[in-house]
């Protein structure tokens, strides 16, 4: 295995992002930052259709912010948690943009950014990456009918109702056109390996995913790339998974606790009767990155992040058949590039 991150051969920027959330996310501490919010239905007659609608809206918002139309995008990569990723295929079928479907569970946001980076650094001008999750579609698919009102254990997480869309571009003219003193630039990416440490409790995804996050961070460290105090942002480890991650890394001599945050701990108010160990879902890391972190990079408040999308690669049948839950974590290093120092026309 090549234990090195992939460096794009030309500069790649996240020039725009769109975020769409449900009412619970809107009521949380980041509520004011999201581009659009609705109830759980978004005007549709099923939760599945609502989730698809969120993807449609999120991509539309990201394109509008970047002043792009369909013809400006060469590729669209998207995935979600619903069986056969239909939130993506139904949500985005109205866009006539070449489409590649992904399945990375809750790591999909990072996987999409990673592939968008590879594509825009080689064959594309611009690529959009989209993902979503919805509490109601996930709950009834992975756990219980909502009407059943099942009790939740303390390690359980709450699936975010939300969708995030990102425009990744290798055209410096796009980067120069974006607002803000800084432009988020993807410096390198590292796909994760599947890691299975034997967790079988489907209500403890944090524990299943933390070893994968540790594995990717250690591979990144071993490649000599983990330098300085860049903010490490995990996708949805929650309180339980974050604590396990600190322990696993400490045993390997890596301390991240003072420069780590988890998207799953940022989106809801800490209320033990409700979201328990935190937020989760493909939408979780996507909307936090889109609405909060990238904006803070653009204003100069955050200089660099190691964004680690974390996912649990299981389904309900596998759990019922006694399988443990494999995890994965993909890394995307993003740095705030000074807009005035990006030469327009450099790689157009």
């Amino acid at each position: 295995m090549q234990n090195k991150p992939f460096h794009p051969a030309r500069r790649v920027f996240i020039t725009s992002a769109g975020s769409v959330v449900g009412h619970k996310e809107k009521a949380g501490p980041l509520g004011a930052l999201f581009d659009f919010s609705g109830d759980d239905r978004f005007g549709k007659d099923s939760w599945e259709k609502a989730e698809a609608e969120m993807q449609r809206l999120a991509l539309g918002i990201a394109m509008r912010k970047a002043e792009l139309v369909e013809g400006d995008l060469d590729l669209l990569v998207a995935g979600d948690l619903v069986n056969q990723c239909v939130s993506s295929s139904y949500g985005l079928l109205g866009y006539r943009i070449p489409f590649l479907g992904l399945f990375g569970a809750c790591s999909t946001c990072a996987e999409g950014l990673l592939l968008a980076t590879l594509a825009t650094a080689s064959v594309c001008r611009r690529c959009a990456a989209v993902t979503s999750s919805h509490f109601c579609t996930a709950e009834r698919q992975f756990r219980y009918p909502l009407e059943y009102g099942g009790q939740r254990t303390p390690t359980a997480q709450w699936t975010v109702t939300g969708s995030g869309a990102f425009i990744v571009s290798s055209r410096t003219c796009d980067a120069v056109r974006t607002g803000g003193e800084f432009v988020p630039e993807i410096l390198d990416v590292m796909p994760g390996c599947i890691v299975d440490r034997g967790i079988t409790d489907a209500a403890n995804m944090g524990a299943a995913m933390a070893p994968a996050a540790a594995d990717t961070i250690l591979r990144y460290r071993d490649s000599g790339s983990l330098q300085g105090d860049a903010l490490i942002v995990t996708g949805d480890l929650g309180a339980e998974g974050s604590a396990i991650l600190y322990d696993l890394l400490r045993a390997e001599g890596v301390e991240i606790e003072n420069h780590h945050t988890d998207c799953g701990l940022r989106i809801y108010r800490r209320d033990p009767a409700d979201a328990h160990a935190g937020a989760s879902g493909c939408g979780c890391s996507a909307v936090v990155l889109a609405a909060e972190l990238l904006e803070k990079m653009k204003s100069g408040e955050i200089e660099e992040i190691l964004f680690l999308g974390t996912g649990a690669l299981m389904n309900t049948a596998a759990i019922q058949q006694g399988h443990s839950i494999p995890g994965i974590a993909h890394l995307v290093r993003i740095r705030a590039a000074k807009r005035s120092e990006i030469a327009d026309g450099q790689n157009d």
Copy 2:
């Protein structure tokens, strides 16, 4: 939309492939060509575990043929039809190779080759692409319990029990090392757009996917790339979908009938009481490409193919909620490159 195929910036070869099938596929006209076959269980206690095992075996065979070990592969892309693509995550978790999950339904083989091409042409030395399907996992997930013995309509297809794995390499030393006078080289790739023409019959996937195949072929034609009489190979349109494809293309002035074949029509003997309109599933195009087409390219019997993976991006809940079935078709152009004319060390 950039209506042009993506050309890899350096030469990319399919240096090895592995195929694993069940007993029905083994009994078909291509039976003697597959690398390995088993019963429906492959020594496991569930069909889902058997499907995962096929992926593990197929990748192992492809790696062994290419004389590669884990550390020689920089990336692994894989997907399947089972909910949350767990055949890939469980089947391949024993390989310590950075992993990206895909969902492209039955187009996954082409999607994987497409992404492997982008990766190896830019940041990787070698990338493996793997996919699978299993009649029993698909039947009980998408249709009825097997014990129910549901009647099948004439347009229904039979999901292939099989897995195909491919090693894609940009190292000319790998290409030179492979057996055969010719080496399959990927010349360009074109991701498909999602196309929905309103088909709602989940027992007629051919009709749902044919418009997507026509769309990609026409986009390829419009880019000026559809030249000569390269063999056009669709993944699993079956008899119904192939006939629709001919009609759709004829209306646009494109005749392909005399240089087209469909993997779904090659794998089983034509027996109307059984496989009906033909074979389908991610494994269908993967094992036909791996075991038959690439071998015929290596011997010089086939010079060039336009390989179109076709997929139906639906799930059962969406059908029950009244959605129609969107299709997609990704194109990979493969040509037999003369091995003696590949300069060793050219891009290592």
